[in-house]
């Protein structure tokens, strides 16, 4: 069962009221990324530096002279959020040592979309993980290049229609399965990897807090529904994120020191159709394609469950 339903006594008083990602930003109505970042910064607190990649978040949050950021923020380019964060992290370490910076713990975040992470930024990300910088990489995944107008990325799921993988007479849209970024991150043997979604705020906040408290690199993969690019109604952003979890399309899990743990395990998953049906990007799909998507999702889900079971057995 999804976490919030298990906890009817949702207690907002436990969550910081400070809005470090400001109201008045230019995100679309119902933007899943803006929501994710707002929640994540509540876990991060003000002693945080954000290194943003180019993309939706950067554009909506920083049209001069307006900024949505109430924490120090730097945007350099598209493919190098992790490299910039490497420099910031190294600088703060040495400056602290030389007594030239606050002695407090500073959370360093590299923030990028799925394109900035799984495509153009993958090399910088891999390098920074391998070098073991003490930072948190956050991928807000809306499954395409939304900022430039909904072009496919390697994180676009099978069957989704985008402007560069359009569904047509000869095409079902995206013909390849979604690149498994969290597992690529985990393959660097970093201490903390988690998938999360702002539809599960308590889960997201807890994972963000864990990531920030991890010594060394951590990775959060945040599914961020996008009404504009996924072509769903803006009020469904949270619902669709929830359906992604409830159908197993986007399982919530953590990999702590290499051990995988499922966070929300459903006895009975909803059929993927429930998730697909609200979204215009999947509207063209026929029963065969939906069946294929169900097969892909089932297989990956079972594999995750088995892995979780195996990893649990190692703990005994």
């Amino acid at each position: 069962m999804p976490q919030e339903k298990q906890h009817p006594g949702f207690i907002p008083r436990l969550i910081s009221p400070r809005e470090l990602f400001a109201e008045g930003n230019r995100g679309c109505q119902g933007c899943g990324e803006a929501l994710a970042i707002r929640q994540i910064l509540k876990a991060a607190g003000p002693d945080t530096i954000v290194c943003s990649a180019t993309g939706c978040v950067e554009i909506i949050s920083s049209p001069y002279p307006e900024t949505a950021w109430r924490v120090p923020w730097i945007h350099v380019a598209f493919e190098n959020a992790a490299a910039v964060a490497s420099g910031v992290e190294a600088a703060i370490k040495i400056l602290k040592k030389r007594g030239r910076y606050h002695d407090r713990k500073i959370n360093i975040i590299a923030l990028a979309g799925d394109g900035g992470t799984a495509d153009i930024g993958l090399q910088a990300l891999s390098g920074a993980f391998e070098r073991r910088h003490d930072f948190t990489y956050i991928c807000t995944d809306n499954e395409a290049y939304m900022n430039t107008g909904i072009q496919r990325s390697s994180a676009t799921p099978y069957g989704a229609s985008t402007t560069t993988s359009p569904a047509g007479k000869e095409s079902i849209g995206q013909t390849t399965p979604k690149k498994d970024m969290p597992m690529i991150a985990a393959a660097h043997d970093i201490p903390y990897v988690a998938t999360c979604c702002p539809s599960y705020p308590m889960d997201l906040l807890a994972k963000a807090a864990k990531a920030f408290n991890t010594e060394g690199p951590s990775y959060l993969h945040v599914l961020s529904p996008c009404p504009t690019g996924w072509r769903h109604e803006s009020h469904l952003t949270v619902e669709i994120g929830r359906l992604a979890v409830e159908t197993g399309v986007f399982p919530l899990y953590e990999i702590i020191e290499g051990r995988l743990k499922m966070n929300v395990v459903m006895e009975k998953r909803k059929p993927v159709k429930e998730y697909l049906k609200h979204q215009g990007r999947f509207r063209h799909l026929g029963p065969d394609e939906i069946e294929e998507i169900q097969r892909i999702v089932d297989e990956k889900y079972v594999r995750l469950l088995r892995r979780a079971e195996f990893d649990r057995s190692l703990e005994r």
């Binding site: 920083s62 120090p72 923020w73 730097i74 600088a91 030239r100 910088a124 920074a128």
Partner: protein, 392 residues
């Protein structure tokens, strides 16, 4: 007091970086720059230099990390060459656009293809307009001094721009030269700790690198250009101070035996050493030949250049870079442009030499002077440029 010693020039640059108390070094290996960062890595490993050394996975990330480090308030350094510099290209514009005082040494090398690890200036010329202050070293001592000065210039709050120190790959980077290594105490006196103008600080949260709409972009670029143009004064000021402290002089354009000269050879970098010998030999034969060497390439020292060539009949402008389909060499083009509106201007002959590590010999300079004289006698004009030493 400094010590006089013999040292590989790459190592001397590393010494300069150490004496400058660099805080973050992010670099990636590429010939002929590698000795610089190897030495810095060793210094950090041996505890001689208390800095963070980030062995990044590409030059693009090297510059990105330097940008991040400088934005966090650390004195940052990198070094590269050729393909590595080209890979940084995008980041170079951002470093200058964000007004971050990163310092970089470039061991100048030819651009592929065909692959060449050997020296010329085509790497840095492709970055001419990236908004960096660009300096050229002729000798090992230059390289050492300019590196220390580069931090001082970059971090001056009137400047706040990145600086690149160019050293010729192999012919300077890999040679052992006698030079003065200054003491830590003296360098500390010359170069105070970095006080960032722009800094990522949770107590004063700023947003660096916002979106600039057409409404503001031109103004921000004007601001940046004025800073670069006016850095000239600051550079002069810092060079004067350096001279007073260490006794070595630096000028934007440096002249050798230019008094009464009719023909000047113009060049940048270590080849000036060979050119100097050629000038001496020609002078012995009674030829009125001198040498001018560009030390400061950006901001371009227009007035110094005009003064340097005033009254001469011709300048033989030698570039170690070919601008394909254009006027030949970028430095020659710039010189021609600088002279164009003057009433009295010398004839300027363009030469391309020393591409991809091809030696430029004393004889080559004889040929260059001879050809220039011939063109001059024929009333100027002719080809825009000639390539020296190319086989038919």
């Amino acid at each position: 007091m400094g010590i006089r010693t013999g040292m590989e020039v790459s190592i001397a640059i590393s010494e300069a970086v150490k004496l400058s108390r660099a805080e973050v070094i992010a670099a990636y290996p590429i010939t002929p720059q590698t000795h610089i960062v190897e030495e810095l890595a060793r210094m950090v490993a041996d505890g001689e230099l208390d800095a963070k050394f980030i062995m990044v996975e590409s030059e693009h990330s090297a510059m990105s990390a330097c940008i991040g480090a400088a934005a966090a308030g650390a004195r940052s350094f990198t070094a590269t060459a050729a393909q590595g510099l080209a890979l940084m290209h995008e980041m170079l514009y951002i470093a200058s656009g964000l007004r971050l005082p990163v310092v970089m040494a470039v061991a100048n090398r030819a651009m592929s293809a065909p692959l060449s690890i050997w020296g010329d200036h085509s790497d840095i010329m492709a970055e001419r307009d990236s908004g960096w202050i660009q300096l050229f070293a002729e000798t090992g001592q230059d390289a050492f001094d300019l590196t220390i000065q580069a931090f001082r210039i970059a971090e001056d709050e009137r400047v706040s721009l990145p600086v690149v120190v160019n050293i010729d790959g192999f012919t300077l980077s890999h040679v052992i030269e006698p030079l003065e290594i200054e003491s830590q105490e003296d360098v500390d006196r010359f170069l105070p700790p970095f006080k960032p103008v722009i800094q990522l600080d949770p107590d004063k949260p700023i947003s660096i690198g916002p979106v600039g709409f057409p409404e503001i972009y031109t103004e921000i670029k004007k601001q940046q250009n004025v800073a670069l143009v006016e850095s000239y004064k600051v550079i002069r000021e810092i060079w004067n101070e350096f001279r007073d402290m260490f006794g070595r002089e630096y000028h934007p354009v440096e002249s050798y035996r230019t008094e009464d000269a009719e023909i000047l050879i113009h060049i940048a970098g270590s080849t000036a050493g060979t050119a100097r010998i050629a000038v001496d030999m020609l002078r012995e034969k009674g030829e009125k030949v001198g040498l001018i060497r560009t030390r400061l390439w950006r901001p371009y020292p227009f007035e110094d250049m005009k003064k340097a060539v005033a009254g001469v009949k011709a300048v033989a402008a030698v570039d170690r870079c070919l601008s394909f389909g254009g006027q030949g060499g970028p430095m020659c083009s710039e010189l021609k442009s600088a002279m164009y509106n003057l009433e009295e201007k010398p004839f300027i002959a363009g030469f391309i030499a020393g591409l991809g590590g091809r030696d430029i010999t004393i004889e080559d300079f004889f040929t260059i002077v001879k050809e220039t004289k011939k063109m001059l006698e024929e009333g100027g004009g002719g080809e825009e440029y000639r390539m020296i030493g190319v086989r038919e």
